[in-house]
């Protein structure tokens, strides 16, 4: 039976893992190869790297990082952050990455999703959607899509955008609730349900994990195929094995 996936996410700046403290300062949190190996040994089902490097040689740095991790860690790797051409996707795949996550650039140029899917296959094109609940909506069941790491609001409806990117060729949707991100109040189950009930590709839930039952809710109530978590694992509150043991105990199929 297909297992539900637990995916740790690592923020990367200039080839190093960084951790944000209170959304301001970034602290160096180590070597991505060492961190990747640790998560691999702990039972992570995949690894996701979010590259926040702002320098002009960003592409070469991240490709080198992927190469070093992929040489030693034999689980799937996803890279997101600033990917804006088929050539970017190709370079990452050649370096040993399995999936690329496209966010802002999918909105700027939706053809990029189709071009990448046609050349490399839908399975390596993840579209990341950052969504925030629209407080003006009378039912409170509409979410706006934001770009540029959550800074810029668009008029796109998150559920409609998810359906659209699947039509364009995305093989997976990484859905982040900006309302819940960093709060540890749990994943936004209404948002998840709204999207998973409308698309037939796997959806990865992101934003809000704080307790073990939040993972259960994302899978069982939200219909997620995978969950992404960053700070919960980095700061050591829970090990991946704790999450899996808990889920197994409640009848969720995990590896």
């Amino acid at each position: 039976m297909l297992a539900k996936r637990i995916i740790p996410c690592l923020d990367i700046d200039k080839g190093r893992v960084v951790k944000g403290i209170k959304f301001e300062s970034l602290i160096d949190a180590g070597d991505p190869v060492a961190q990747g190996k640790r998560y691999d040994a702990e039972g992570a089902d995949e690894l996701t790297f979010l590259d926040i490097t702002a320098s002009s040689d960003k592409r070469a740095i991240v490709a080198d990082l992927v190469r070093r991790v992929a040489d030693e860690v034999f689980i799937p790797l996803t890279v997101g952050g600033g990917i804006n051409s088929v050539e970017d996707v190709r370079a990452l795949l050649r370096a040993g990455c399995d999936k690329t996550s496209i966010n802002t650039n999918a909105i700027k140029r939706p053809e990029l999703v189709t071009e990448a899917a046609e050349i490399f296959g839908s399975q390596c094109v993840v579209v990341a959607i950052d969504a925030r609940r629209d407080m003006n909506d009378k039912d409170g069941l509409r979410w706006n899509v934001f770009t540029h790491g959550g800074r810029n609001k668009t008029e796109l409806d998150a559920v409609e955008w998810a359906e659209r990117v699947v039509e364009l060729g995305a093989g997976e949707v990484l859905l982040t609730s900006m309302d819940r991100d960093g709060t540890r109040d749990g994943y936004d189950i209404e948002l998840l349900k709204a999207v998973t009930s409308r698309v037939n590709v796997p959806v990865i839930a992101s934003g809000g994990a704080g307790k073990l039952e939040h993972f259960f809710d994302a899978f069982v109530a939200g219909g997620a195929s995978a969950v992404l978590a960053a700070s919960l694992f980095h700061f050591g509150e829970y090990k991946i094995a704790d999450v899996k043991n808990y889920l197994r105990g409640r009848g969720v199929m995990v590896r």
Partner: protein, 209 residues
């Protein structure tokens, strides 16, 4: 002599396959050099993305006949993911495309009521004995990413099946030709073991576990 040559015809993440063999202690290289491919002890046929695009790329690199000839000479061949699908007669993908026809059967799309592609770790359920499966426990997890699956004409060609909507063939073998639908290079220790088994198996005695 090169133990394993991974056929480079311009598609896929071949570096990971090469490194996974290396981590299993196997001397493997990625190459499109015909002389090297003709001299290698064993061949790996990778493949990702669209079936027809992979078949076309193999033809454009003038490697289709080479694969057939080496298989006819008894050289072990391992197809991985779409590389496994290419071993079959034909695929339904985008209205139909011809495969290598080394194993009888078709490649079909998953039911659209399922999440397609299937992405993630799923289990194999053993249906046969083969040296490729040495020290691989029943129900082991491997990493799968695919929208189409292989339906062998002869049941005995399926060494293992995996459940996704229905049971489908996730490991196949017929004489010196083998295929795995999952990515062994992305399946941790269980995947590395399969690669090592492939590199070490005695093709004339595949019954030896």
């Amino acid at each position: 002599m090169i133990q394993v040559a991974i056929i480079d015809y311009g598609v896929g993440n071949l570096r990971s396959v090469e490194k996974a063999f290396a981590a299993s202690g196997v001397d493997a290289i990625v190459t499109s050099d015909e002389a090297v491919l003709r001299a290698a002890e064993r061949l790996v046929l990778p493949g990702v993305g669209a079936f027809a695009a992979c078949m076309n790329a193999l033809k454009e690199h003038n490697l289709e006949d080479l694969v057939r000839e080496r298989v006819a000479d008894g050289v072990p061949l391992l197809g991985v993911c779409v590389g496994m699908q290419m071993l079959f007669d034909e695929s339904d993908e985008f209205g139909g495309a011809q495969g290598l026809g080394l194993i009888a059967g078709k490649v079909k799309r998953f039911d659209d009521r399922l999440h397609v592609p299937q992405i993630g770790w799923n289990q194999i359920h053993l249906r046969g004995e083969h040296a490729l499966l040495k020290d691989t426990p029943d129900d082991s997890f491997f990493y799968f990413v695919h929208s189409y699956f292989c339906a062998p004409e002869h049941q005995e060609d399926a060494l293992a099946v995996t459940e996704y909507g229905e049971n489908y063939a996730s490991i196949v073998a017929r004489e010196n030709v083998c295929g795995v639908q999952f990515h062994p290079e992305k399946s941790q220790a269980a995947g590395l073991k399969i690669l090592k088994n492939f590199a070490e198996m005695d093709v004339h005695r595949t019954d030896v576990l």
